[in-house]
């Protein structure tokens, strides 16, 4: 329940300061970055995602550690399913 999913920022969504497009294992979805300090993330950065929100900024090594941990827990598929399931901002400009 409290496990967090690592992802890499592909782009900041234009016209919506709260959203970033994130790549999680090849699945691209928008996530909300409102729980990070303003201007804290840019494309290429890695973040931990929980229930549709970026919870913290991490570095690439930590992201790989986190992914390996999810795999070892047998929860990597669930994590991808979760990200795939985020439907709140399918197109740029949607509420996020």
């Amino acid at each position: 329940m409290c496990l967090a999913i690592p992802g890499q920022i592909a782009e900041l969504v234009p016209d919506n300061a709260l959203l970033a497009r994130v790549n999680v294992g090849g699945v691209y979805r928008n996530v909300n970055i409102g729980l990070l300090e303003d201007g804290d993330v840019s494309p290429g950065d890695w973040i931990l995602i929980h229930v549709g929100f970026a919870l913290s900024k991490i570095d690439e090594t930590q992201a790989h550690d986190q992914l390996r941990m999810l795999r070892a827990m047998g929860e990597d598929e669930l994590a991808i399913d979760e990200v795939r399931g985020y439907s709140f901002a399918e197109s740029a400009g949607d509420s996020g």
Partner: protein, 370 residues
Amino acid sequence: MKYVDEYRDPKVIGGLARELARSVDPARTYRIMEVCGGHTHAIYRHGLRDVLPANIELVHGPGCPVCVLPTGRVDDGLDIAARDDVILTCFGDMMRVPGTKGTPLELKARGADIRMVYSPLDALRIAEQNPQKHVCFFAIGFETTAPSTALTILRAHALEIRNFSVFSNHVTIVPAMKAILDSPDMRIDAFVGPGHVSTVTGCRPYAFIASDYGKPVVVSGFEPADILESILMILRQLHAGESKVENQYRRIVPWEGNPPALRAMARIFELRPYFEWRGLGFISQSALALKPEVAAFDAERVFAIPGVRVTDPRGAQCGEVLKGVLKPPQCKLFGTECDPEHPIGALMVSSEGACAAHYRYAVHAQAVEA
């Protein structure tokens, strides 16, 4: 031991296991509580019990949101869902948690509009798409999840969405740890502190456990080596007669936590005077209600919910297991009337629940070996 092989470097595990074996004082026992359900799952899955010296006892803590949710609150949420004009949304973990009249999944099968979401923002989107309905989000979770609910409510407020509410069952972990320390039938020597909750709260809230109760707290990561290293750090403190808060999970957990997340929670939530936890009873200032300023989004004000206290199903000893007084297989219903396919108690539902983890990894593994 079989799951440990999946870890990146079995040598690290072996080294830590040997150091733990060297470090323990054979003349005493150690009761260490891992607070977080994610740690409970990891401990079972990786077979860490087999790696630890026999006189270290791990007690599984209350850090599993669906496990500590009392049946009465499930009933309250399902009462909201029973209204014709309501869509109830909840995380997947909630769908199989039994209330008195069934689980959310069973009520859905009987016609209630109950939908699983992966994010509270998905619930808000459903509200935007269904203006003729009221969409209620059944919010559960500790400090990892509560900031996301808070931002969703702020978003609903900004967008002036009027058909959306939150049934808040958010709880905070530190008062539960205090309740455990104050409980006369529980003797805990130290805590493995939660990982991702601490990403939000930071390490400071645990300070009083070290200073006032004299118990070490080590915030830990989730890999086998993280958990073993955290236990080793606890032993070192105990043997040195120290009690302090240490952060083994520095690579993810900042000492100060996540200030914007804490600010979002402070804007939306206030502490309830008390809240019922399954197994632990009523704990003061342990849960979050919506502030009066956002009352329009508070399902407990929008709806007249029954609010009836419900005792655990007859024979189920979830409370004793949650407090660590009983081990999962010592419950009368474990593996007979209550199993992961037909859970009677919430601890059998979530992979983070001690009973589900014990059933899946300890019982099932024995059956396969036999």
